[in-house]
């Protein structure tokens, strides 16, 4: 019974393979292929170089599919575009309009409370923030734009990534289905989705946000999944044995215990968002990234370096805030000191 099933599987796979070959042969241009298909079996010269008719036609269907997507669901993508753009512009404008000392004060307050009142971290972050503008006054507004894009991209990652990670941890089928998708998202070169992003959403901040999402959400999903699956099995059993429902176990036990890992995922997510926002400047996203680009285009090493330093400072700010918040959570869930008894 089982053997029969495996043979059937092999048969189906080979049938698909043969079908694909036939399709590629039939769709090849006439001048690329022999006059009659029986010639293939008479003249074996095609075995030397890869024959031009052995070419799976993937490009045209994707192009036409993409066109179809734009014409059919254009409104849908416009909706997403307007929504994200709206959030972005209002966020950017309100921060840009604030006096710069107030912005620094805000950053300090956020860091102070997120890090659990750690003075050292707060001072470090305050200096980094100050130096953004100090490097070049031009950078201040650009850093705010970059920050807004990163923050919105991250929020998108968190809102979608964490529930997906949880679903993956709880259901083996979901995990098996999603793992190859995550692999694809992480290995596909970023320009492959930056360009279609422009076609769908136009130039500007929105394709950058989408690119951030594609690039930065996989580690968050993976770490959420891992964190939840790493929770001690006996602890889960204990929760179930006392009659906790799936939901109670999830919220009361699994998520709190997975939180350090999830925070690590968010931290990773931030760093990757920043890396992507610099690349996105090449598709016309405004922000600190275009200073680097400008420096490179003009072969102005000093300018590129200055902008590079600004990006590093921005990364330090993001990293310190998310990292220290994670540490604070971890301390609460896993107290270190031991009482001798």
């Amino acid at each position: 019974m089982n053997k029969y099933k495996t043979y059937l599987k092999y048969f189906i796979y080979s049938a698909i393979f043969v079908y694909v070959i036939i399709i590629s042969y039939r769709s090849a241009r006439p001048r690329y292929k022999p006059e009659h298909y029986t010639d293939i079996f008479k003249d074996f010269s095609w075995l030397n170089d890869w024959p031009k008719w052995l070419d799976f036609p993937l490009m045209q269907p994707i192009n036409s599919g993409f066109d179809w997507l734009i014409s059919k669901y254009g409104l849908f993508f416009d909706g997403i575009n307007n929504f994200l753009l709206g959030i972005y512009t209002s966020m950017r404008n309100s921060i840009v309009d604030l006096p710069w000392p107030l912005v620094i004060a805000m950053v300090i307050t956020i860091t102070y409370f997120a890090s659990g009142k750690k003075i050292q971290t707060t001072v470090l972050v305050a200096f980094c923030t100050f130096f953004l503008g100090f490097l070049s006054p031009r950078y201040w507004d650009k850093c705010i734009m970059t920050t807004c894009i990163v923050v919105i991209g991250m929020l998108l990652c968190i809102i979608i990534g964490i529930p997906v990670g949880i679903a993956m941890a709880r259901n083996k089928k979901v995990r098996n289905a999603l793992l190859p998708v995550l692999d694809l998202m992480q290995t596909i070169p970023s320009f492959c989705y930056l360009i279609p992003g422009i076609l769908l959403f136009g130039l500007g901040a929105v394709p950058a946000i989408i690119a951030i999402f594609v690039y930065a959400v996989p580690p968050l999903i993976r770490l959420t999944d891992l964190g939840i699956r790493l929770v001690d099995k006996e602890v889960i059993e204990a929760s179930e044995a006392f009659g906790a429902s799936k939901k109670q176990t999830l919220w009361g036990v699994q998520i709190p215990l997975a939180l350090p890992n999830i925070m690590q995922g968010i931290n990773q997510c931030t760093m990757m968002s920043l890396a992507m926002v610099v690349i996105a400047s090449m598709i016309g996203t405004r922000g600190i990234g275009d200073e680097v680009l400008l420096g490179l285009q003009q072969l102005n090493v000093g300018m590129a370096t200055e902008a590079g330093i600004a990006i590093v400072l921005l990364a330090i700010i993001f990293d310190r805030i998310t990292q220290s918040y994670g540490e604070k959570l971890q301390e609460r869930t896993q107290p270190k000191k031991k009482i001798n008894f």
Binding site: S239, A244, G252
Partner: protein, 351 residues
């Protein structure tokens, strides 16, 4: 009706348990099944009854299926075939919602590695069973505090589990199981991870609690001394098969096979046999025409080793009395020496 009835339960771990089941039912051994199909036999046709108010100890070497068995009772594991009845209800018939209710109100569990929630304080841990039931915070904390006191952990209620020693952590586990006030308590190697001294202390504490609470306890251990100390009945598992069920004395005196015999070989009999178990009734004693001389009185619940030194010093007849001083029987030197002699499998002694 017994409190818990387990009927012909089979559990096979692997991809296609139901396909392997007939092979197991036809008597293939665990090794054969593993070799031929890659499936692991967890339980092989286990049937047993556990009575209300008793402590049933399930014993066996590591990997013999003890944990698997106990997890069937609250259905943390579903059997491949067979039924589990608790107070007459078939656990397999419960739907999701009823199963949750059943776990909340019928039984609680204590775990080998404690299974405490590291992000909750001692008080929150103990109150967890009540929390999932949706009890009010005040009521929950009041009951939790009572149980914390019952296990002697006052003053530690706001600590986190990993700030406590192993023994204290397992007390938290015990208090958590007591807090929901269920009739049945499942204890999976609850004391195995503790140091010997602390283990003895915990065993005493459990015995004391049990005389008061009269719960039905299913206790798992791989330690014979522990099972003899705690068990009213003992079941012995080997490779997923239940090879013997009986009272501690049954197990020691009449081991069913070599596996059990090997288990009880080194046990200190004087420490586990009580006077009332080997004593002759006054009638038998008179019939044998034994002479009464130099009488030593012992309580019927005394273990042999408690009065053995006295008997060794002066040859004497032992008079067994109950708590009120009534004579229940006699122990002669002959009976005593027989009880202390090691028996082989299917040994001579019949109680």
């Amino acid at each position: 009706m017994s409190k818990i009835e387990i009927k012909n339960v089979y559990k096979i771990f692997g991809e296609h348990p139901s396909k392997v089941l007939p092979m197991v039912q036809e008597g293939a051994t665990k090794e054969e099944i593993l070799e031929k199909t890659g499936h692991t036999v967890g339980l092989d046709n286990v049937s047993l009854n556990i009575e209300e108010g008793e402590t049933f100890v399930c014993m066996g070497l590591s990997g013999s299926g003890k944990s698997t068995l106990i997890r069937h009772i609250n259905r943390l594991i579903d059997p491949t075939s067979g039924d589990i009845l608790v107070e007459g209800t078939n656990v397999m018939d419960l739907d999701k919602k009823n199963l949750i209710e059943f776990r909340r109100h019928k039984m609680s569990m204590v775990f080998q590695r404690f299974g405490l929630f590291p992000h909750k304080t001692v008080m929150e841990n103990v109150g967890y069973g009540l929390e999932v039931q949706g009890k009010k915070l005040e009521e929950k904390n009041k009951i939790a505090m009572e149980k914390i006191e019952a296990v002697g952990l006052n003053g530690f209620e706001h600590q986190y589990p990993n700030q406590l020693s192993g023994g204290m952590q397992q007390r938290v586990g015990l208090a958590r199981a007591l807090a929901t006030n269920t009739d049945i308590m499942l204890m999976d190697e609850a004391f195995s991870a503790l140091d010997p001294l602390i283990r003895t202390e915990m065993q005493k504490q459990l015995i004391n609690l049990q005389t008061e609470l009269k719960k039905t306890i299913v206790f798992i251990t791989h330690d014979l001394d522990e099972s003899l100390k705690l068990g009213d009945h003992i079941g012995i598992l080997n490779h997923g098969k239940l090879v013997q069920v009986g009272t501690p004395i049954d197990i020691i005196m009449n081991p069913a096979d070599d596996y059990v015999a090997a288990f009880v070989k080194d046990v200190n009999r004087a420490k586990v046999i009580k006077a009332k178990i080997i004593m002759l009734t006054p009638e038998d004693f008179k019939k044998n025409g034994e002479k009464q001389s130099n009488i030593i009185k012992v309580n019927e619940n005394d273990f042999l080793d408690e009065f053995l030194p006295k008997v060794c010093l002066t040859p004497a007849t032992i008079e067994v009395i109950d708590n009120d001083g009534n004579i229940k029987g006699y122990i002669t030197e002959k009976v005593l020496s027989k009880a202390l002699t090691k028996s082989n499998a299917n040994g001579a002694y019949k109680s």
